[in-house]
Protein backbone atom coordinates (compact mmCIF):
# COMPACT_ATOMS: atom_id res chain seq x y z
CA UNK A 1 0.00 0.00 0.00
CA UNK A 2 1.24 3.46 -0.80
CA UNK A 3 1.73 5.27 2.45
CA UNK A 4 3.17 8.54 1.25
CA UNK A 5 5.34 10.30 -1.22
CA UNK A 6 8.91 9.60 -0.14
CA UNK A 7 11.96 11.07 -1.84
CA UNK A 8 15.20 9.22 -1.18
CA UNK A 9 17.72 10.91 -3.49
CA UNK A 10 18.37 14.46 -4.61
CA UNK A 11 17.63 13.29 -8.15
CA UNK A 12 14.09 12.39 -7.18
CA UNK A 13 13.58 15.82 -5.67
CA UNK A 14 14.25 17.60 -8.94
CA UNK A 15 12.63 15.28 -11.46
CA UNK A 16 10.16 16.90 -13.80
CA UNK A 17 7.29 14.64 -12.72
CA UNK A 18 7.41 12.25 -9.82
CA UNK A 19 5.13 9.53 -11.08
CA UNK A 20 4.87 7.95 -14.56
CA UNK A 21 1.05 8.19 -14.90
CA UNK A 22 1.44 11.99 -15.02
CA UNK A 23 3.13 11.60 -18.41
CA UNK A 24 0.16 9.55 -19.62
CA UNK A 25 -2.40 12.11 -18.44
CA UNK A 26 -0.37 14.97 -19.88
CA UNK A 27 -0.15 13.18 -23.24
CA UNK A 28 -3.91 12.62 -23.21
CA UNK A 29 -4.50 16.31 -22.40
CA UNK A 30 -2.15 17.34 -25.18
CA UNK A 31 -3.92 15.06 -27.65
CA UNK A 32 -7.22 16.56 -26.54
CA UNK A 33 -5.91 20.11 -27.04
CA UNK A 34 -4.57 19.26 -30.52
CA UNK A 35 -7.93 17.76 -31.46
CA UNK A 36 -9.88 20.65 -29.91
CA UNK A 37 -9.97 22.93 -33.00
CA UNK A 38 -11.79 20.20 -34.93
CA UNK A 39 -14.47 19.86 -32.26
CA UNK A 40 -15.00 23.37 -30.84
CA UNK A 41 -16.90 26.14 -32.59
CA UNK A 42 -15.09 29.39 -33.26
CA UNK A 43 -16.50 31.10 -30.14
CA UNK A 44 -15.19 28.40 -27.81
CA UNK A 45 -11.96 28.25 -29.79
CA UNK A 46 -11.31 31.94 -29.14
CA UNK A 47 -11.40 31.19 -25.40
CA UNK A 48 -8.91 28.37 -25.91
CA UNK A 49 -6.60 30.76 -27.77
CA UNK A 50 -6.87 33.37 -25.02
CA UNK A 51 -6.15 30.75 -22.38
CA UNK A 52 -3.04 29.52 -24.19
CA UNK A 53 -1.74 33.05 -24.81
CA UNK A 54 -2.44 34.06 -21.20
CA UNK A 55 -0.69 30.93 -19.90
CA UNK A 56 2.49 32.08 -21.65
CA UNK A 57 2.26 35.53 -20.07
CA UNK A 58 1.42 34.34 -16.57
CA UNK A 59 4.22 31.80 -16.60
CA UNK A 60 6.48 34.73 -17.42
CA UNK A 61 5.19 36.80 -14.52
CA UNK A 62 5.36 33.74 -12.28
CA UNK A 63 9.13 33.55 -12.75
CA UNK A 64 9.49 37.07 -11.39
CA UNK A 65 6.71 37.27 -8.80
CA UNK A 66 6.12 33.63 -7.95
CA UNK A 67 9.67 32.25 -7.93
CA UNK A 68 11.78 35.30 -7.09
CA UNK A 69 9.20 37.15 -4.99
CA UNK A 70 9.58 40.49 -6.80
CA UNK A 71 6.13 42.02 -7.19
CA UNK A 72 5.57 43.60 -10.58
CA UNK A 73 2.56 45.77 -11.29
CA UNK A 74 3.92 46.76 -14.67
CA UNK A 75 4.00 43.56 -16.63
CA UNK A 76 1.59 44.95 -19.14
CA UNK A 77 4.53 47.17 -20.13
CA UNK A 78 6.53 44.14 -21.26
CA UNK A 79 3.44 42.73 -22.94
CA UNK A 80 2.92 45.87 -25.01
CA UNK A 81 6.65 46.16 -25.82
CA UNK A 82 6.65 42.60 -27.12
CA UNK A 83 3.55 43.17 -29.22
CA UNK A 84 5.00 46.35 -30.73
CA UNK A 85 8.40 44.73 -31.36
CA UNK A 86 6.68 42.00 -33.36
CA UNK A 87 4.35 44.39 -35.17
CA UNK A 88 7.13 46.81 -36.13
CA UNK A 89 9.51 44.09 -37.30
CA UNK A 90 7.00 42.00 -39.22
CA UNK A 91 4.32 44.41 -40.42
CA UNK A 92 6.43 47.50 -40.92
CA UNK A 93 9.79 46.09 -42.03
CA UNK A 94 8.48 42.82 -43.53
CA UNK A 95 10.88 40.65 -41.57
CA UNK A 96 10.44 36.92 -41.12
CA UNK A 97 7.88 36.10 -38.37
CA UNK A 98 10.49 34.08 -36.49
CA UNK A 99 12.70 37.18 -36.36
CA UNK A 100 9.59 39.00 -35.15
CA UNK A 101 9.08 36.52 -32.30
CA UNK A 102 12.75 36.72 -31.41
CA UNK A 103 12.46 40.51 -31.32
CA UNK A 104 9.28 40.25 -29.26
CA UNK A 105 11.33 38.44 -26.65
CA UNK A 106 14.57 40.39 -26.86
CA UNK A 107 13.20 43.95 -26.87
CA UNK A 108 11.21 43.56 -23.61
CA UNK A 109 14.20 41.74 -22.13
CA UNK A 110 16.37 44.77 -22.89
CA UNK A 111 13.67 47.04 -21.49
CA UNK A 112 13.60 44.91 -18.35
CA UNK A 113 17.32 45.59 -17.87
CA UNK A 114 16.49 49.29 -17.75
CA UNK A 115 13.70 48.72 -15.20
CA UNK A 116 15.55 46.01 -13.35
CA UNK A 117 18.75 47.93 -12.74
CA UNK A 118 17.28 50.68 -10.53
CA UNK A 119 14.98 48.11 -8.95
CA UNK A 120 17.88 46.18 -7.49
CA UNK A 121 18.03 48.56 -4.59
CA UNK A 122 14.29 48.55 -4.01
CA UNK A 123 12.21 46.15 -2.04
CA UNK A 124 8.60 45.08 -1.96
CA UNK A 125 6.18 47.94 -2.34
CA UNK A 126 8.71 50.43 -3.68
CA UNK A 127 9.56 47.96 -6.43
CA UNK A 128 5.90 47.36 -7.22
CA UNK A 129 5.40 51.10 -7.67
CA UNK A 130 8.51 51.48 -9.84
CA UNK A 131 7.29 48.77 -12.20
CA UNK A 132 3.90 50.50 -12.24
CA UNK A 133 5.64 53.72 -13.21
CA UNK A 134 7.51 51.87 -15.95
CA UNK A 135 4.32 50.61 -17.56
CA UNK A 136 2.96 54.18 -17.80
CA UNK A 137 6.24 55.54 -19.13
CA UNK A 138 6.47 52.87 -21.81
CA UNK A 139 2.96 53.72 -23.02
CA UNK A 140 3.94 57.37 -23.42
CA UNK A 141 7.17 56.43 -25.18
CA UNK A 142 5.21 54.31 -27.65
CA UNK A 143 2.68 57.08 -28.28
CA UNK A 144 5.42 59.66 -28.77
CA UNK A 145 7.69 57.60 -31.05
CA UNK A 146 5.38 58.03 -34.03
CA UNK A 147 8.04 57.40 -36.69
CA UNK A 148 8.38 53.85 -35.39
CA UNK A 149 5.04 52.92 -33.91
CA UNK A 150 2.44 55.07 -35.74
CA UNK A 151 1.59 56.60 -32.34
CA UNK A 152 -2.04 56.31 -31.36
CA UNK A 153 -3.07 54.87 -34.73
CA UNK A 154 -1.51 51.50 -33.96
CA UNK A 155 -0.26 48.84 -36.35
CA UNK A 156 -2.30 46.05 -37.87
CA UNK A 157 -0.78 42.60 -37.81
CA UNK A 158 -1.39 39.60 -40.06
CA UNK A 159 -1.30 36.05 -38.81
CA UNK A 160 2.14 34.67 -39.64
CA UNK A 161 3.32 32.22 -42.27
CA UNK A 162 6.41 30.30 -41.14
CA UNK A 163 8.37 28.14 -43.61
CA UNK A 164 5.40 27.71 -45.93
CA UNK A 165 3.06 26.80 -43.08
CA UNK A 166 0.25 29.30 -42.87
CA UNK A 167 -1.18 30.01 -39.43
CA UNK A 168 -4.04 31.98 -40.88
CA UNK A 169 -6.91 29.73 -39.85
CA UNK A 170 -8.16 29.68 -36.25
CA UNK A 171 -7.17 26.03 -35.85
CA UNK A 172 -3.62 26.58 -37.04
CA UNK A 173 -3.17 29.67 -34.86
CA UNK A 174 -4.42 27.70 -31.86
CA UNK A 175 -1.74 25.11 -32.53
CA UNK A 176 0.88 27.84 -32.76
CA UNK A 177 -0.25 29.20 -29.37
CA UNK A 178 -0.29 25.65 -28.00
CA UNK A 179 3.30 25.18 -29.15
CA UNK A 180 4.37 28.38 -27.41
CA UNK A 181 2.46 27.46 -24.24
CA UNK A 182 4.07 24.01 -24.05
CA UNK A 183 7.56 25.37 -24.67
CA UNK A 184 7.07 28.03 -21.99
CA UNK A 185 5.69 25.50 -19.55
CA UNK A 186 8.74 23.28 -19.99
CA UNK A 187 11.04 26.29 -19.75
CA UNK A 188 9.38 27.41 -16.51
CA UNK A 189 9.42 23.93 -14.96
CA UNK A 190 13.04 23.41 -15.93
CA UNK A 191 14.14 26.79 -14.62
CA UNK A 192 12.43 25.98 -11.33
CA UNK A 193 14.29 22.68 -10.84
CA UNK A 194 17.68 23.99 -11.90
CA UNK A 195 20.34 25.75 -9.87
CA UNK A 196 18.97 29.10 -11.08
CA UNK A 197 15.46 28.25 -9.93
CA UNK A 198 16.64 27.27 -6.49
CA UNK A 199 18.52 30.55 -6.26
CA UNK A 200 15.30 32.43 -7.20
CA UNK A 201 13.32 30.67 -4.49
CA UNK A 202 16.08 31.29 -1.95
CA UNK A 203 15.94 35.01 -2.76
CA UNK A 204 12.16 34.96 -2.37
CA UNK A 205 12.20 33.19 0.97
CA UNK A 206 14.93 35.27 2.57
CA UNK A 207 17.22 37.42 0.50
CA UNK A 208 19.68 38.12 3.29
CA UNK A 209 20.12 34.39 3.93
CA UNK A 210 20.44 33.78 0.19
CA UNK A 211 23.18 36.35 -0.02
CA UNK A 212 25.02 34.78 2.89
CA UNK A 213 24.92 31.45 1.03
CA UNK A 214 26.78 33.04 -1.85
CA UNK A 215 23.95 33.86 -4.23
CA UNK A 216 24.68 36.95 -6.28
CA UNK A 217 21.47 38.89 -5.62
CA UNK A 218 21.97 41.48 -8.35
CA UNK A 219 22.76 38.97 -11.08
CA UNK A 220 19.90 36.64 -10.21
CA UNK A 221 17.33 39.38 -9.76
CA UNK A 222 18.26 40.83 -13.14
CA UNK A 223 18.17 37.35 -14.65
CA UNK A 224 14.66 36.86 -13.25
CA UNK A 225 13.62 40.20 -14.75
CA UNK A 226 15.08 39.38 -18.17
CA UNK A 227 13.63 35.87 -18.37
CA UNK A 228 10.25 37.04 -17.20
CA UNK A 229 10.18 39.94 -19.66
CA UNK A 230 11.31 37.71 -22.54
CA UNK A 231 8.45 35.25 -21.98
CA UNK A 232 5.90 37.97 -21.33
CA UNK A 233 6.98 39.71 -24.54
CA UNK A 234 6.30 36.54 -26.54
CA UNK A 235 2.85 36.40 -25.01
CA UNK A 236 2.35 40.04 -26.00
CA UNK A 237 3.28 39.26 -29.61
CA UNK A 238 0.80 36.36 -29.69
CA UNK A 239 -1.89 38.56 -28.17
CA UNK A 240 -1.19 41.25 -30.75
CA UNK A 241 -1.56 38.70 -33.55
CA UNK A 242 -4.76 37.42 -31.95
CA UNK A 243 -6.21 40.96 -31.82
CA UNK A 244 -4.79 41.47 -35.35
CA UNK A 245 -4.15 45.06 -34.30
CA UNK A 246 -1.55 46.42 -31.91
CA UNK A 247 -2.28 49.67 -30.08
CA UNK A 248 -1.72 51.04 -26.61
CA UNK A 249 -5.46 50.81 -25.87
CA UNK A 250 -5.39 47.08 -26.58
CA UNK A 251 -3.19 46.56 -23.52
CA UNK A 252 -4.93 48.27 -20.59
CA UNK A 253 -3.44 48.42 -17.10
CA UNK A 254 -6.10 45.94 -15.99
CA UNK A 255 -4.07 43.18 -17.68
CA UNK A 256 -1.35 43.58 -15.03
CA UNK A 257 -3.96 43.11 -12.31
CA UNK A 258 -5.50 40.20 -14.18
CA UNK A 259 -2.12 38.46 -14.34
CA UNK A 260 -1.55 38.91 -10.60
CA UNK A 261 -5.10 37.69 -9.93
CA UNK A 262 -4.33 34.58 -11.96
CA UNK A 263 -1.19 33.89 -9.94
CA UNK A 264 -3.01 34.34 -6.64
CA UNK A 265 -5.97 32.23 -7.68
CA UNK A 266 -3.75 29.50 -9.07
CA UNK A 267 -1.19 29.52 -6.29
CA UNK A 268 1.85 31.75 -6.26
CA UNK A 269 5.12 30.18 -7.34
CA UNK A 270 3.75 27.13 -9.10
CA UNK A 271 3.65 26.55 -12.86
CA UNK A 272 0.65 24.27 -12.48
CA UNK A 273 -1.01 27.05 -10.48
CA UNK A 274 -0.41 29.55 -13.27
CA UNK A 275 -2.14 27.21 -15.73
CA UNK A 276 -5.09 26.41 -13.44
CA UNK A 277 -5.49 30.06 -12.50
CA UNK A 278 -5.52 31.12 -16.14
CA UNK A 279 -8.25 28.64 -17.02
CA UNK A 280 -10.37 29.78 -14.07
CA UNK A 281 -9.93 33.53 -14.56
CA UNK A 282 -10.40 33.50 -18.34
CA UNK A 283 -13.54 31.41 -18.12
CA UNK A 284 -14.91 33.08 -14.96
CA UNK A 285 -16.83 35.97 -16.59
CA UNK A 286 -18.35 33.58 -19.11
CA UNK A 287 -19.22 31.00 -16.46
CA UNK A 288 -20.80 33.62 -14.18
CA UNK A 289 -22.78 34.94 -17.07
CA UNK A 290 -24.02 31.44 -17.87
CA UNK A 291 -25.08 30.78 -14.27
CA UNK A 292 -26.94 34.08 -13.99
CA UNK A 293 -28.62 33.74 -17.39
CA UNK A 294 -30.27 30.60 -16.03
CA UNK A 295 -32.10 32.77 -13.50
CA UNK A 296 -33.16 35.79 -15.48
CA UNK A 297 -32.75 37.36 -18.87
CA UNK A 298 -32.45 40.81 -17.35
CA UNK A 299 -29.19 40.01 -15.54
CA UNK A 300 -27.96 38.54 -18.79
CA UNK A 301 -28.62 41.91 -20.43
CA UNK A 302 -26.63 43.71 -17.73
CA UNK A 303 -23.74 41.43 -18.51
CA UNK A 304 -23.79 42.52 -22.11
CA UNK A 305 -23.92 46.26 -21.39
CA UNK A 306 -21.55 46.38 -18.42
CA UNK A 307 -19.34 43.48 -19.44
CA UNK A 308 -16.01 45.21 -18.81
CA UNK A 309 -17.03 46.53 -15.37
CA UNK A 310 -18.47 43.21 -14.24
CA UNK A 311 -15.35 41.45 -15.41
CA UNK A 312 -13.09 43.68 -13.35
CA UNK A 313 -15.42 43.42 -10.36
CA UNK A 314 -15.22 39.65 -10.55
CA UNK A 315 -11.41 39.81 -10.67
CA UNK A 316 -11.36 42.01 -7.59
CA UNK A 317 -13.78 39.79 -5.72
CA UNK A 318 -11.89 36.63 -6.64
CA UNK A 319 -8.57 38.14 -5.53
CA UNK A 320 -9.98 39.13 -2.14
CA UNK A 321 -11.84 35.88 -1.52
CA UNK A 322 -8.89 33.68 -2.46
CA UNK A 323 -6.45 35.65 -0.32
CA UNK A 324 -8.86 35.46 2.57
CA UNK A 325 -9.96 31.83 2.40
CA UNK A 326 -7.47 29.95 0.20
CA UNK A 327 -4.16 31.85 0.17
CA UNK A 328 -2.34 28.91 -1.39
CA UNK A 329 -4.68 29.02 -4.37
CA UNK A 330 -6.07 26.22 -6.49
CA UNK A 331 -2.79 24.31 -6.26
CA UNK A 332 -3.06 24.36 -2.47
CA UNK A 333 -6.61 23.07 -2.67
CA UNK A 334 -5.50 20.34 -5.07
CA UNK A 335 -2.70 19.27 -2.71
CA UNK A 336 -5.18 19.09 0.17
CA UNK A 337 -7.55 16.96 -1.86
CA UNK A 338 -4.74 14.67 -2.94
CA UNK A 339 -3.54 14.20 0.62
CA UNK A 340 -7.06 13.47 1.78
CA UNK A 341 -7.44 10.85 -0.99
CA UNK A 342 -4.22 9.08 0.02
CA UNK A 343 -4.67 9.25 3.79
CA UNK A 344 -8.40 8.73 4.16
CA UNK A 345 -9.83 7.91 6.72
CA UNK A 346 -6.86 9.24 8.67
CA UNK A 347 -6.23 12.95 8.64
CA UNK A 348 -2.45 12.78 8.35
Amino acid sequence: MRTGDFKQTYGELVTLVDSPPVWLWSALLLAGLIAAPFVLNSYALSFLMIILITVVGTLGLNILTGYTGLISLGHVGFLVTGAYAYAVLVSKYQMHPLVGFLGAGVVPALASLIVGAPSLRLKGLYLAITTLAFSFIINTVILEARWLTNGARGISVQRPEIFGLSFDSDAAFTWLCLGFAILTLFAALNIRRSRVGRAFVAIRDNDTAARVMGINLHAYKLFAFVTSAFITGLSGALYGIYLSFVSVEGFPFLLSIEALAILIVGGLGSALGAVLGTVLIVLLPEATRFVFSLFSAQIDATFTTGAQELKSMLYGLVIILFLRFQPRGLVGAWHDIRRMWVNWPLRY
Binding site: Y126, I129, F134, Y315, P327
Partner: protein, 290 residues
Protein backbone atom coordinates in the same frame (compact mmCIF):
# COMPACT_ATOMS: atom_id res chain seq x y z
CA UNK B 1 7.57 84.91 -17.18
CA UNK B 2 3.81 85.19 -16.97
CA UNK B 3 3.46 81.82 -18.70
CA UNK B 4 5.86 80.38 -16.15
CA UNK B 5 3.94 81.86 -13.21
CA UNK B 6 0.66 80.58 -14.64
CA UNK B 7 2.11 77.07 -14.92
CA UNK B 8 3.55 77.35 -11.43
CA UNK B 9 0.24 78.39 -9.84
CA UNK B 10 -1.84 75.73 -11.58
CA UNK B 11 0.91 73.24 -10.78
CA UNK B 12 0.69 74.17 -7.12
CA UNK B 13 -3.09 73.75 -7.20
CA UNK B 14 -3.08 70.30 -8.79
CA UNK B 15 -0.06 69.44 -6.66
CA UNK B 16 -2.01 70.28 -3.52
CA UNK B 17 -4.65 67.75 -4.59
CA UNK B 18 -1.95 65.12 -5.18
CA UNK B 19 -0.48 66.10 -1.84
CA UNK B 20 -3.77 65.52 -0.02
CA UNK B 21 -4.17 62.08 -1.57
CA UNK B 22 -0.51 61.27 -0.92
CA UNK B 23 -1.04 62.17 2.73
CA UNK B 24 -3.87 59.66 2.69
CA UNK B 25 -1.42 57.00 1.51
CA UNK B 26 1.11 57.98 4.14
CA UNK B 27 -1.34 57.97 7.07
CA UNK B 28 -2.30 54.38 6.29
CA UNK B 29 1.28 53.30 5.64
CA UNK B 30 2.49 54.90 8.82
CA UNK B 31 0.08 53.07 11.08
CA UNK B 32 -0.52 49.78 9.26
CA UNK B 33 2.60 49.32 7.13
CA UNK B 34 0.80 48.77 3.86
CA UNK B 35 0.18 50.74 0.71
CA UNK B 36 -3.49 51.24 0.00
CA UNK B 37 -3.86 50.84 -3.74
CA UNK B 38 -7.54 51.68 -3.43
CA UNK B 39 -6.83 55.25 -2.27
CA UNK B 40 -7.63 56.82 -5.65
CA UNK B 41 -10.89 54.90 -5.84
CA UNK B 42 -11.90 55.92 -2.30
CA UNK B 43 -11.17 59.52 -3.26
CA UNK B 44 -13.35 59.19 -6.32
CA UNK B 45 -16.24 57.66 -4.38
CA UNK B 46 -16.16 60.45 -1.79
CA UNK B 47 -16.25 63.03 -4.58
CA UNK B 48 -19.19 61.26 -6.22
CA UNK B 49 -21.06 61.19 -2.91
CA UNK B 50 -20.42 64.92 -2.53
CA UNK B 51 -21.84 65.44 -6.00
CA UNK B 52 -24.92 63.36 -5.16
CA UNK B 53 -25.49 65.45 -2.01
CA UNK B 54 -25.10 68.68 -3.97
CA UNK B 55 -27.69 67.63 -6.54
CA UNK B 56 -30.24 65.89 -4.32
CA UNK B 57 -30.05 67.39 -0.81
CA UNK B 58 -28.68 70.88 -1.02
CA UNK B 59 -26.12 72.80 -2.99
CA UNK B 60 -24.96 74.63 0.11
CA UNK B 61 -21.17 74.52 0.42
CA UNK B 62 -21.16 73.59 4.11
CA UNK B 63 -23.81 70.87 3.83
CA UNK B 64 -21.86 69.27 0.99
CA UNK B 65 -18.56 69.51 2.89
CA UNK B 66 -20.02 68.01 6.06
CA UNK B 67 -21.81 65.25 4.16
CA UNK B 68 -18.70 64.37 2.19
CA UNK B 69 -16.55 64.20 5.33
CA UNK B 70 -19.09 61.96 7.09
CA UNK B 71 -19.34 59.74 4.02
CA UNK B 72 -15.55 59.47 3.83
CA UNK B 73 -15.35 58.47 7.51
CA UNK B 74 -17.99 55.79 7.03
CA UNK B 75 -16.31 54.55 3.85
CA UNK B 76 -12.93 54.25 5.56
CA UNK B 77 -14.36 52.50 8.62
CA UNK B 78 -16.42 50.05 6.58
CA UNK B 79 -13.49 49.09 4.35
CA UNK B 80 -11.24 48.65 7.36
CA UNK B 81 -13.76 46.51 9.23
CA UNK B 82 -15.06 44.36 6.38
CA UNK B 83 -12.06 43.94 4.10
CA UNK B 84 -8.85 44.79 5.92
CA UNK B 85 -9.30 43.57 9.48
CA UNK B 86 -9.71 39.89 8.56
CA UNK B 87 -6.32 40.18 6.83
CA UNK B 88 -4.59 41.31 10.04
CA UNK B 89 -1.41 39.32 10.57
CA UNK B 90 -1.25 38.08 6.97
CA UNK B 91 1.88 38.80 4.89
CA UNK B 92 2.18 42.30 3.43
CA UNK B 93 1.99 40.98 -0.13
CA UNK B 94 -1.41 39.39 0.51
CA UNK B 95 -2.79 42.48 2.24
CA UNK B 96 -1.60 44.82 -0.50
CA UNK B 97 -3.11 42.55 -3.13
CA UNK B 98 -6.40 42.75 -1.25
CA UNK B 99 -6.34 46.53 -1.60
CA UNK B 100 -5.70 46.08 -5.33
CA UNK B 101 -8.72 43.80 -5.55
CA UNK B 102 -10.72 46.37 -3.62
CA UNK B 103 -9.56 49.08 -5.99
CA UNK B 104 -10.81 47.18 -9.01
CA UNK B 105 -14.18 46.55 -7.37
CA UNK B 106 -14.69 50.18 -6.28
CA UNK B 107 -13.61 51.45 -9.69
CA UNK B 108 -16.19 49.44 -11.56
CA UNK B 109 -18.89 50.06 -8.99
CA UNK B 110 -18.95 53.73 -10.09
CA UNK B 111 -20.51 52.75 -13.40
CA UNK B 112 -23.23 50.78 -11.64
CA UNK B 113 -24.11 53.26 -8.89
CA UNK B 114 -23.65 56.44 -10.91
CA UNK B 115 -22.92 56.62 -14.63
CA UNK B 116 -20.02 56.87 -17.05
CA UNK B 117 -20.50 60.53 -17.98
CA UNK B 118 -18.53 63.47 -16.59
CA UNK B 119 -20.32 65.79 -14.13
CA UNK B 120 -19.47 69.18 -12.74
CA UNK B 121 -19.68 69.67 -8.98
CA UNK B 122 -21.36 73.02 -8.42
CA UNK B 123 -21.63 74.44 -4.92
CA UNK B 124 -21.50 78.06 -5.99
CA UNK B 125 -17.83 78.29 -5.15
CA UNK B 126 -14.47 77.59 -6.67
CA UNK B 127 -14.91 78.47 -10.32
CA UNK B 128 -14.75 82.26 -10.16
CA UNK B 129 -11.44 83.69 -11.31
CA UNK B 130 -9.45 86.05 -9.11
CA UNK B 131 -6.62 88.16 -10.52
CA UNK B 132 -3.34 88.27 -8.64
CA UNK B 133 -1.22 90.75 -10.58
CA UNK B 134 -1.54 89.54 -14.16
CA UNK B 135 -2.29 85.93 -13.33
CA UNK B 136 -5.81 84.54 -13.17
CA UNK B 137 -6.42 82.01 -10.43
CA UNK B 138 -9.62 80.18 -9.58
CA UNK B 139 -10.82 80.48 -5.99
CA UNK B 140 -11.01 76.69 -5.78
CA UNK B 141 -7.31 76.51 -6.58
CA UNK B 142 -6.45 78.99 -3.83
CA UNK B 143 -8.72 77.13 -1.40
CA UNK B 144 -7.07 73.77 -2.04
CA UNK B 145 -3.58 75.16 -1.46
CA UNK B 146 -4.72 76.81 1.77
CA UNK B 147 -6.45 73.59 2.87
CA UNK B 148 -3.33 71.56 2.22
CA UNK B 149 -1.17 73.92 4.25
CA UNK B 150 -3.72 74.02 7.09
CA UNK B 151 -3.95 70.23 7.14
CA UNK B 152 -0.17 69.90 7.11
CA UNK B 153 0.04 72.01 10.25
CA UNK B 154 -2.92 70.25 11.87
CA UNK B 155 -1.51 66.80 11.19
CA UNK B 156 1.93 67.77 12.40
CA UNK B 157 0.38 69.00 15.66
CA UNK B 158 -1.80 65.89 15.88
CA UNK B 159 1.11 63.47 15.63
CA UNK B 160 3.29 65.61 17.87
CA UNK B 161 0.97 66.51 20.75
CA UNK B 162 -2.27 64.50 20.83
CA UNK B 163 -2.47 61.22 22.74
CA UNK B 164 -4.03 59.36 19.82
CA UNK B 165 -1.37 60.69 17.46
CA UNK B 166 1.37 59.42 19.72
CA UNK B 167 -0.44 56.06 19.96
CA UNK B 168 -0.52 55.86 16.16
CA UNK B 169 3.20 56.54 15.98
CA UNK B 170 3.78 53.90 18.63
CA UNK B 171 1.84 51.27 16.66
CA UNK B 172 3.76 52.20 13.52
CA UNK B 173 7.11 51.97 15.28
CA UNK B 174 6.49 48.64 17.01
CA UNK B 175 3.00 47.20 17.17
CA UNK B 176 3.79 44.51 19.74
CA UNK B 177 5.26 46.88 22.27
CA UNK B 178 2.38 49.24 21.60
CA UNK B 179 -0.07 46.42 22.36
CA UNK B 180 1.78 45.70 25.62
CA UNK B 181 1.43 49.35 26.56
CA UNK B 182 -2.33 49.00 26.25
CA UNK B 183 -2.89 50.58 22.86
CA UNK B 184 -5.57 48.91 20.77
CA UNK B 185 -3.96 48.31 17.38
CA UNK B 186 -7.28 47.60 15.65
CA UNK B 187 -8.70 50.90 16.87
CA UNK B 188 -5.63 52.74 15.64
CA UNK B 189 -5.96 51.02 12.26
CA UNK B 190 -9.63 51.96 12.04
CA UNK B 191 -8.80 55.55 12.88
CA UNK B 192 -6.03 55.60 10.28
CA UNK B 193 -8.35 54.34 7.57
CA UNK B 194 -11.01 56.87 8.45
CA UNK B 195 -8.51 59.74 8.59
CA UNK B 196 -6.86 58.73 5.34
CA UNK B 197 -10.23 58.44 3.65
CA UNK B 198 -11.19 61.95 4.80
CA UNK B 199 -7.90 63.60 3.84
CA UNK B 200 -7.88 62.02 0.40
CA UNK B 201 -11.62 62.66 0.04
CA UNK B 202 -11.06 66.39 0.59
CA UNK B 203 -8.57 66.27 -2.27
CA UNK B 204 -11.12 64.48 -4.44
CA UNK B 205 -13.86 67.02 -3.74
CA UNK B 206 -11.51 69.90 -4.55
CA UNK B 207 -10.57 68.16 -7.79
CA UNK B 208 -14.26 67.85 -8.67
CA UNK B 209 -14.74 71.55 -7.84
CA UNK B 210 -11.92 72.75 -10.08
CA UNK B 211 -12.24 70.18 -12.87
CA UNK B 212 -14.87 67.49 -13.43
CA UNK B 213 -16.09 64.26 -11.93
CA UNK B 214 -15.62 61.22 -14.13
CA UNK B 215 -15.04 57.49 -13.69
CA UNK B 216 -11.42 58.12 -14.72
CA UNK B 217 -10.84 60.08 -11.52
CA UNK B 218 -9.26 57.07 -9.80
CA UNK B 219 -6.14 57.92 -11.80
CA UNK B 220 -5.57 60.67 -9.25
CA UNK B 221 -4.48 57.87 -6.96
CA UNK B 222 -1.88 56.71 -9.48
CA UNK B 223 -0.71 60.31 -9.91
CA UNK B 224 -0.37 60.70 -6.15
CA UNK B 225 1.90 57.64 -5.91
CA UNK B 226 4.96 59.55 -7.10
CA UNK B 227 4.17 62.22 -4.51
CA UNK B 228 4.12 59.82 -1.60
CA UNK B 229 7.16 57.91 -2.86
CA UNK B 230 9.01 61.18 -3.28
CA UNK B 231 8.18 62.27 0.23
CA UNK B 232 8.70 58.83 1.70
CA UNK B 233 5.89 56.37 2.33
CA UNK B 234 6.06 56.87 6.08
CA UNK B 235 6.37 60.65 6.01
CA UNK B 236 2.92 62.26 6.15
CA UNK B 237 4.17 65.83 5.88
CA UNK B 238 6.77 64.85 3.29
CA UNK B 239 4.04 63.32 1.15
CA UNK B 240 2.06 66.56 1.23
CA UNK B 241 5.08 68.55 0.09
CA UNK B 242 5.97 65.82 -2.41
CA UNK B 243 2.56 66.40 -3.98
CA UNK B 244 3.30 70.10 -4.53
CA UNK B 245 6.66 69.20 -6.06
CA UNK B 246 5.13 66.62 -8.42
CA UNK B 247 2.35 69.00 -9.43
CA UNK B 248 4.80 71.76 -10.34
CA UNK B 249 7.17 69.41 -12.19
CA UNK B 250 4.31 67.89 -14.11
CA UNK B 251 2.91 71.22 -15.18
CA UNK B 252 6.27 72.68 -16.17
CA UNK B 253 7.12 69.54 -18.14
CA UNK B 254 3.71 69.70 -19.81
CA UNK B 255 4.08 73.39 -20.57
CA UNK B 256 7.62 73.40 -21.90
CA UNK B 257 8.26 69.87 -23.23
CA UNK B 258 4.98 68.35 -24.38
CA UNK B 259 1.69 66.93 -23.18
CA UNK B 260 3.09 63.38 -23.28
CA UNK B 261 5.75 64.38 -20.78
CA UNK B 262 3.09 65.77 -18.46
CA UNK B 263 1.61 62.32 -17.98
CA UNK B 264 4.85 60.65 -17.00
CA UNK B 265 6.97 63.44 -15.48
CA UNK B 266 6.03 62.32 -11.97
CA UNK B 267 6.80 58.68 -12.66
CA UNK B 268 10.12 59.49 -14.31
CA UNK B 269 10.96 61.63 -11.31
CA UNK B 270 10.34 58.88 -8.75
CA UNK B 271 12.50 56.41 -10.65
CA UNK B 272 15.36 58.90 -10.43
CA UNK B 273 14.66 59.68 -6.76
CA UNK B 274 14.41 56.02 -5.80
CA UNK B 275 17.75 55.31 -7.44
CA UNK B 276 19.40 57.89 -5.22
CA UNK B 277 17.35 57.53 -2.04
CA UNK B 278 15.39 54.24 -2.11
CA UNK B 279 13.28 55.32 0.87
CA UNK B 280 12.11 58.72 -0.37
CA UNK B 281 13.39 62.19 0.39
CA UNK B 282 11.88 62.49 3.86
CA UNK B 283 11.41 58.78 4.54
CA UNK B 284 13.18 56.91 7.29
CA UNK B 285 15.90 54.52 6.27
CA UNK B 286 14.88 50.94 6.88
CA UNK B 287 17.59 49.16 8.84
CA UNK B 288 17.40 45.43 8.46
CA UNK B 289 18.53 43.27 11.34
CA UNK B 290 19.57 39.70 10.70
Amino acid sequence: MQYFMQLLISGLAIGAIYGLIAMGFAVIYKSTGLVNFAQGEMTMITAYIAWTISTTVSGNMFVVALGAILAAVVLGLVIERVVMRPMLGEPVFATVMVTIGLAVILRSSINFIWDAYPHGLDVGFGRTIVRIGTIGVRTGQIAVIVTLLALLVAIWAFFRYSKIGVAMRAVAADDRTALLMGISATRVHALAWAASSVIAGIGGVFFALSYDLSPAMFQLGLKAFPATILGGLDAVLGSGLGGLLIGITENLAGGYVGSGMKEVAGFAMIIVVLMIRPFGIFGERDIERV
